[in-house]
C-alpha cells in the first residue's frame, strides 16, 4: 500500500521539488539585477581611498627602511596589504590618519608595528602569510 503511494506520487513530487528549487534560484538572480545604490558607490570610493593611502604609506622610503630592518621585504608586505579585507584596510588607514603630518620616525615605527600586529593576526587566521614563523589555526 505504502509502496504504491510512493510510486504514485514519487515522480510528480520530485518534479515539484525540483521546480521549487529552480524558482528559489531565479529569485536570487533577479534580486541581483537592479540599481546600484549611492551608499554602495560611496563605500567603494572610501575603501579605494583607504587602500591607496595604505599602499602609499608602504611606498614611503623611511617606512621601507623600517620594514627591511625588521627583516620583512617591503614589497612582500605591500602585496599582502592587497589581500586584506576592506574593513581591515579602513582600520589601518584610520590608524595612519592619527599620525601627525611630518611625523617623526618614532611614530612611523609605531604605525608600522601596529600594521605588523594586524598582519600577524590575519596570518594566524590564515588570511595572509607574511611571517614564516606563524602557524595558521586552520
Amino acid at each position: 500500500m505504502r509502496k504504491k503511494i510512493i510510486r504514485y506520487i514519487g515522480k510528480p513530487l520530485c518534479l515539484f521539488l525540483a521546480l521549487c528549487f529552480l524558482t528559489v534560484d531565479v529569485g536570487i538572480r533577479t534580486a541581483q539585477a537592479g540599481m546600484i545604490s549611492t551608499e554602495t558607490v560611496l563605500a567603494a570610493q572610501a575603501n579605494n581611498e583607504a587602500r591607496t593611502q595604505v599602499v602609499d604609506f608602504f611606498a614611503r622610503e623611511d617606512v621601507r627602511q623600517v620594514m627591511t630592518a625588521q627583516g620583512v621585504a617591503a614589497d612582500e608586505v605591500a602585496a599582502r596589504v592587497a589581500s586584506l579585507s576592506d574593513a581591515e584596510i579602513v582600520q589601518i588607514a584610520n590608524e595612519l590618519d592619527q599620525l601627525p603630518a611630518g611625523a617623526s620616525l618614532g611614530t612611523v615605527v609605531g604605525a608600522v608595528l601596529f600594521i605588523f600586529v594586524v598582519l600577524l593576526i590575519t596570518d594566524i587566521l590564515g588570511y595572509t602569510k607574511v611571517f614564516t614563523f606563524v602557524q595558521p589555526i586552520r
Binding site: R29, Q32, G34, M35, I36, T38, E39, V41, L42
Partner: protein, 321 residues
Amino acid sequence: MLINQLQSAGGRWLACAFFGIAILIIISGCSTYQYQSALYPEPQRVYLAEVPFFAQEEYQCGPAALAMLLAWNGEEESLAQLGEQVYSPGLQGSLQPSIVAAARRRGYVAYPLHGWSELVAELKGGQPVMILQNLGLSWYPRWHYAVVIGYDQAVTTVMLHSGIYPEMQMPMGVFERTWRRGDYWGLVVVPPTVLPASATENAYLTAVVGLERAQQFSAATTAYLSAAKAWPNSFVAWMGAGNSSYNDGDIDTAIRSFRQAAALQPDNGVPLNNLALVLAQVGRHPEALAVIDQAINRGGKWQGMFRQTRQKIVAEAELAQ
C-alpha cells in the same frame, strides 16, 4: 595670650589660603585648551542674535535644541511632536542618531561636525550649531544638548541657548571642558540647497546618503546637485543625484546625472548599469541595451550584475513587444 592665639590662628588661615591659591594656579596652568589655536586667527566675536529660543521641559534638551535649528531655517515645529520622534523615555534623554533622523525626516541635511575649527567655520557662515556637552564628570555624566549662537574672544565666553536660559554666557574654559567630554560632537541642520561652511566632500555626501535612506528623494536630489556644484568632479554626487531623482520620478535629471557620472569615470560601468535600467523603465529598450553592453565592456567587479541587468532588460523588451 588671646591676641597671640588669634595671631597664630590667623597665620594658619593665611598659610592655608596661600597653599590653596598656589594649587589653583598650578591646576589652571596645567589645563590646555584646544580652542586657543583654533580661535586666534578667527574674528574676535561672532553672534547670531536672531536664532529663536525654545525653553526645554525636563530632560527635553534634545528636542528643544533641534527645534531651534529647524526654526532658524523657517521650519516651525511643535516641541511635543519633535519630542515624540527624538526623546527616549527609558533613557531620560535623546540619542544623537534619533536627532539626526528627525531632521532628515523633514527633508533637511543633518551634518555632524567635530571640534573647534568646524564650529567656528559654521558660526562664521551664519549657522547655529547644536553641541553635546557632559556637564558632569566622565564617571558621573550629565549629558546636555545646547545650541551655540556665538562666542567672544575679548571676554572669552561662548553664547548658548541652553535649557531654560536664552543667550547664556559660558566661560570658554568651562565650555571647552564640558564639550570635550562630549567628544566635541556638533550638528548643523541646513536645507538641501545650502552647503554647510565646514562641509567636506565625503562627509557631506555621507550625510546626504542618510537623507536618501530616509526616503526624502526630492530633498536628496537637490542636496546631491548642491554637492555636484561645489565639487563638479564628484562621482558619488552625480550617482546620488541620479539614484534619488530616479526614485523621485524625475527621469530627465536621472539620465543627465548618470551620464555625467559615466563621463567622470570612463572605466566604471556602475553609472551605465543604472542608466540602462532607467532607460528601460521608460521604454527606450534599444538605447538601454546599447548602454548596458557598454557597461559590460567596461568590466570590473560588478560585471556579473551588469549581465543580470542585461537579461532583465532583454526580458522586459520582449514583454513590451
